[in-house]
Amino acid sequence: MSLDRTRLAARIARDIPEGAYVNLGIGAPTLISDYLPEGAEIILHTENGMLGMGPQPRPGEIDPDLINAGKVPVTELPGAAYFHHADSFGMMRGGHIDICVLGAFQVSQAGDLANWSTGAPGAIPAVGGAMDLAIGAKQVFVMTDLLTKTGESKLVAACSYPLTGVGCVTRVYTDRAVFDVTPDGFAVTETFDTTLEELTRLTGLELVDRTHAEPIDIVQEAGT
């Protein structure tokens, strides 16, 4: 079976090592924080000026001065630090953030990312910090469904939507498989109840086979 969002979040959390400084993009990537190993010191960065972000507050304990990039109330963990926006984006652009996880409309086999606009006429454009994260973090992970709601592959030969960043994506975690961006195109490193042939058919791309010898039991890990 393919992975639902929470299981995919749990799968990505497995690849975030202790000691990493991590930015989880707004939307689905924020789910990953629920699956980071308990007790591991992984420092979450939020673009609006904080390291050491904690979970959402209990009812009645909301602090409107303490929010995340999605403008959702959060908490501070011991050792947290606040800073202004220029420092916060210097952390991204300056290569100080180890991993960021972003959503995507499209990722090209060259690692180009499109995730801020579909270019649809009449839509109100909004980019926020996506372009800074995309080009700044040491590793850029994308978390997405492989296919759009209408069945088109989000992995493409070249993005047709407006770009967020050029050649910036490291790895794409989808509900069907994990893909590394390599000089030879997308390399499949892990599949979730599908085959390379099926993935080739769905994406229309030539894929490199680098699947693990032993599949990892994600379902059990995320089921807790």
């Binding site: 939020t46 673009e47 609006n48 000026g49 904080m50 507050p57 009812p59 009645g60 304990e61 909301i62 602090d63 409107p64 001065d65 303490l66 929010i67 403008k71 959702v72 109330p73 501070e76 606040y82 800073f83 202004h84 926006h85 220029a86 916060s88 984006f89 991204m92 652009r93 180009d112 606009s117 009449g122 109100i124 454009p125 909004a126 980019v127 926020g128 910090g129 996506a130 372009m131 800074d132 080009i135 700044g136 407006p162 770009l163 967020t164 960043g165 050029v166």
Partner: protein, 262 residues
């Protein structure tokens, strides 16, 4: 004696004229100087250019300024939000100009203005529509876009505590754009919960030194603090108590419901 403290928010925003460029701090509602914005609406200048990360939330603060028809253009990174209906309506009706800037470029352009930098090369945005028509350069094998500073006539900033010299500290993530904008504007105006005696702020902890600040005004304690102690709120707008106890928000409603707010 230096005294940057003004009697009220109206006195703090005095002199802002038609056509001014005004920076407004805040990320969403956090750090948005609602009382200063309300005073600006009361003062009445038109044709403003606003520089702010977002384009207003709900019907208060920046959203209320937009609804009042005072803004010609907004420079921001993320106008579209769940509660940005005021901006959305104006934009769709073609009644407001938008300059969309990636967030890190926005803040760095503001920083550059305050730091006396003439322009800078940034990798952010290279190869994207937001860099179209801009000068680019390859430096050590990486591609960069040339970006210019954003100056402003005024900055309206949401601080936490200040002294009469204009030294300011902030609260948590409401700091966001405040310190950077304070340096970038010709006249920087900071609202705070409380003005404390000179010497009461720890010199090691001052975030915005007074040299960057021109005017300070006290607007009363935020709703989720009591005597400087965090007591919590029941929603991100800072309301307390069951939702049924609250009055319905109107166009002039503010998240701040207690204290001596202007």
């Amino acid at each position: 004696m230096i005294d940057k403290v003004r009697a009220d928010a109206a006195a703090a925003v005095a002199g802002i004229e038609d056509g001014s460029t005004v920076m407004i701090s805040g990320f969403g509602r956090a750090g948005q100087p609602v009382e200063l914005i309300d005073a600006l609406i009361g003062l009445g200048p038109n044709e403003l250019t606003i520089v702010s990360n977002n384009a207003g939330n709900g019907d208060v603060g920046l959203a209320r300024l937009l609804a009042a028809g005072r803004v010609r253009k907004i420079v921001c990174s993320f106008p579209r939000q769940l509660d940005s209906w005021v901006f959305d309506g104006l934009y769709r009706a073609g009644e407001i100009e938008l300059e969309l800037v990636p967030q890190g470029n926005l803040v760095e352009r503001i920083r550059a203005a305050g730091a006396g930098i003439g322009a800078f090369f940034t990798p952010t945005g290279f190869g994207t529509p937001l860099a179209e028509g801009k000068e680019t350069r390859e430096i050590d094998g990486r591609n960069y876009v040339l970006e210019y500073p954003i100056h402003a006539d005024y900055a309206l900033i949401g601080g936490y505590r200040a002294d009469r010299l204009g030294n300011v500290i902030y609260r948590k993530t409401s700091r966001n754009f405040g310190p950077v904008m304070a340096a970038a504007a010709t006249t920087s105006i900071v609202q705070v919960d409380e003005v404390v005696a000179v010497g009461a702020l720890d010199p090691e902890g001052i975030v915005t030194p007074g040299v960057f600040v021109d005017r300070v005004v006290t607007v009363g304690e935020r709703n989720w603090l009591e005597g400087g102690v965090f007591v919590g709120a029941d929603d991100a707008e800072g309301n307390r108590g069951p939702a049924s106890d609250r009055t319905a928000p109107g166009p002039a409603a503010s998240a701040r419901t207690k204290g001596d707010a202007a």
